[in-house]
């Protein structure tokens, strides 16, 4: 692999030796921040501000109507005695653990199929990407609910093959598979990123491997996987974070209740119900911050472990 010095290293060393350029760069930075200003203002007012106040509220008993009263860590400690909270954690974790790898596997498989040179690839690429554009919408959640209901197409289709499950929507054991199918079906976004990654792998590596008599499995394990590992890492990280935040489809399919029997009580749905149905905004804020912390820790763990399996070009190993 080619060993080229990185762009940033080269420019930082030149900044040291040439002060005039540095002044120039200062002006550039000012102009840059000026152009960023509208976005920055929005970011501070609409994201950072509410986040800080929700951090404060998580230590209070704020109920939307009365001024918040400081109660210390009470919200955080009650969380772990709240059975519904623990249930929502269980539901969300099983969704993340099963849904995300399946979705990524589907995305990678389809990306590899689309990576070959065939006629009409542009069409297939768009067709496979389309579900991820509309998948998170309200209408798809409603369609999903109808499809998996009693005597819906899924029920009828399975009955044709002698599998009588009835409607999935009302069956606590089948709602999770239904949600996982919904997320797997939206594999378009990671697929496009995988496809871009696949295109970056030099064809001569495969050619050389073929010459040495490597089969498709060998090529995948020894060339595609290591060469693609930064992209896999990126997709895994983003999709995991994304999966923790599932809300709209769960809200719509369960009529905003998290039923049947709490099987669709996702973390964010319970957070919403606590805040806006039970008026316990302090409690909901504590839940939100706990989620931020947990997702932060998971991200950190991902980065730590990535050293052992993610390979970048230019690395010594």
């Amino acid at each position: 692999m080619t060993q080229s010095p990185t762009l940033s290293r080269r420019s930082s060393s030149s900044a040291h030796s040439q002060p005039r350029k540095s002044r120039q760069r200062g002006a550039d930075a000012r102009a840059g921040y000026t152009f960023l200003l509208p976005w920055l203002l929005g970011f501070i007012a609409l994201t950072v501000g509410p986040m800080i106040s929700s951090l404060y509220l998580s230590f209070t008993n704020y109920n939307l109507f009365e001024p918040p009263k400081w109660i210390g860590l009470d919200n955080y400690t009650t969380l772990f005695q709240d059975e519904r909270f623990l249930q929502s954690v269980g539901v969300t974790v099983s969704y993340v653990v099963f849904g995300t790898p399946l979705k990524l596997a589907a995305a990678l498989a389809v990306a590899m199929l689309l990576n070959s040179k065939r006629r009409g690839q542009g069409f297939y690429r768009s067709a496979f990407y389309a579900p991820s554009l509309i998948g998170a919408s309200v209408s798809i959640a409603i369609v999903w609910k109808a499809m998996f209901g009693d005597a819906g197409p899924v029920d009828q289709g399975l009955s044709f093959f002698g599998i009588n499950l009835g409607g999935w929507v009302g069956n606590p054991a089948m709602t999770m598979p239904m949600f996982i199918l919904l997320t797997v079906w939206q594999f378009g976004a990671p697929m496009v990123i995988f496809l871009a990654g696949l295109k970056q792998i030099p064809a001569d590596l495969y050619e050389a491997a073929s010459m040495d008599g490597a089969g498709p499995v060998r090529k995948f394990l020894n060339i595609t996987w290591p060469m693609l590992s930064p992209v896999i890492f990126f997709n895994l990280l983003m999709e995991t974070i994304h999966a923790f935040q599932i809300f709209a489809s769960a809200y719509i399919i369960s009529n905003g209740e998290g039923g049947p029997a709490g099987s669709t009580l996702f973390y964010t749905l319970y957070l919403y119900l606590r805040g806006f149905s039970d008026f316990r905004m302090g409690y909901a804020s504590a839940m939100a911050w706990l989620l931020v912390i947990v997702v932060g820790i998971i991200t950190l763990i991902f980065f730590k472990t990535s050293k052992s399996w993610v390979h970048y070009s230019g690395d010594a190993k």
Binding site: G149, I241, S277, Y312, S313
Partner: protein, 430 residues
């Protein structure tokens, strides 16, 4: 080629952050309220929950009001019941509740006690034509926050055509719980499970409340605590223990699939226990030509535990700038006979005698009015507005009972779960 440094610096790690809304405004209001004129009318906002049918009726009522009051314009807005309360909570937090709102007894304390609603005793609304026993249900600690538009009472709906097709006699109007259970089981057995007897009535909070009253227990004490014990609750959920999982009761799977439509409205059950003003909705949903009402079962024939509840109330925001206009609109909506003609019994039976006498009831509307007359001798005082957070308790009662039907909880476990939530909530709001 993908380079580590380049790659890591371009990856922006988005962290999950569910941002909580935190704007808490305190608006000021003028004491007298602004008034308008025909040339320069004031506009008040009115919001309600309901279906398209109610929206159309409300539109007619508003048009009539504007015709009679050229100095006021009414801007109407509606959603379904569940979304309604989430919207109000957000608006209240932002200090922007609509001027006039349709309201439910379950949420009167939550908002009234927290100074979100206007004391209607300070404005001019005529309540002379109301039953004196009904008005306290809109009052908290001596202040009037809501005026009832209409009343409803609990009843057992049944579909006479379905019963006739199964060769089952119509109920005669008095039954014990055992007789009612046998009736549900008979429907399920004779229809071979095609039609279920009914939904599990022990999952309906108000039916539980009525049963408590039949046993002379008040659901909530005056100081906002629970008036019944865990054992009462277990006894109640045991009432239908033998019926769960049989064709007497529709399975929870079906109920969930059919939501938001009811099993009764979907022609899946032969009976339903609920408020009598659901008649019009059930007729429309099921397409049945006729539905009938019978009183709730009771083991004490002299005490049915029934009462007239305000099916809905009219309230105003404490921060409205147009108190006078809001009061005139509320007065019109609850008292005007022509409004009665527009709504008939779709809001319940009109609470104001002026409005009730000015309305002609025919067909199914007459059925509802006649039912409320027929139970008159059994009626007790309307309950006071339930405790703060009652809406949450009612929802969790339904949820726990549903878990019970799914077999996820035992009766003991269900009672424990509900009591834990209730006690936590009462402690929170104390």
């Amino acid at each position: 080629m993908i380079n580590r440094r380049h790659f890591l610096t371009t990856v922006a790690v988005g962290t999950a952050s569910a941002a909580a809304l935190a704007a808490c405004g305190t608006g000021s209001s003028t004491s007298a309220g602004e008034t308008g004129s025909a040339e320069n009318p004031v506009t008040i906002n009115y919001t309600w929950w309901g279906n398209d049918d109610r929206a159309e009726r409300t539109r007619k009522a508003i048009a009539l009001f504007e015709e009679k009051n050229p100095d006021i314009k009414v801007n109407g807005n509606f959603t379904d019941f569940a979304g309604y309360w989430q919207k109000r909570a957000t608006e209240a937090a932002g200090g922007g509740l609509p001027d006039v709102m349709q309201w439910d007894l379950s949420y009167l304390r939550d908002y009234g006690q927290r100074n979100q609603l206007l004391d209607l005793g300070t404005v001019n609304i005529n309540t002379d034509a109301f039953e004196k026993s009904l008005l306290p249900s809109g009052q908290i600690r001596g202040k009037t926050y809501g005026i009832p538009t209409s009343t409803n009472a609990f009843a057992v709906y049944y579909d006479p055509a379905k019963l006739a097709s199964l060769g089952i006699a119509e109920p005669d109007g008095t039954w014990t719980y055992q007789e009612f259970n046998d009736f549900l089981a008979e429907v399920g057995a004779k229809s071979n499970g095609e039609i279920f007897g009914g939904t599990d009535y022990t999952g309906v909070w108000w039916m539980f409340n009525i049963w408590l009253r039949q046993n002379n227990i008040e659901a909530f004490t005056e100081d906002g605590k629970l008036g019944f014990t865990k054992d009462d609750m277990k006894k109640w959920w045991n009432q239908t223990a033998a019926l769960r999982g049989t064709p007497a009761i529709v399975s929870e799977e079906r109920v969930t699939q059919l939501a938001p439509k009811s099993p009764f409205g979907s022609n899946v059950t032969a009976t339903e226990v609920t408020w009598d003003n659901f008649m019009a909705g059930y007729l429309a949903d099921s397409g049945a030509t006729e539905l009938k009402l019978a009183p709730v079962p009771s083991d004490d024939p002299d005490n049915l535990g029934l009462f007239l509840k305000p099916s809905m109330l009219m309230v105003a925001s404490a921060k409205t700038k147009y108190k006078d206009a809001a009061a005139r609109f509320i007065d019109f909506m609850v008292n005007d006979p022509e409004v009665g003609q527009i709504f008939k019994t779709s809001r319940g039976v009109p609470a104001s005698k002026t409005q009730r006498d000015g309305t002609t009831f025919e067909g199914t509307d007459k059925l509802v009015v006649d039912y409320e007359k027929s139970i008159e001798q059994y009626l007790k005082d309307a309950p006071e507005p339930p405790i703060v957070g009652f809406g949450t308790l009612e929802a969790s009662f339904k949820r726990v009972a549903s878990d019970l039907n799914y077999g996820k909880l035992t009766i003991d476990g269900a009672a424990d779960a509900w009591f834990k939530e209730a006690e936590d909530l009462i402690k929170q709001n104390a």
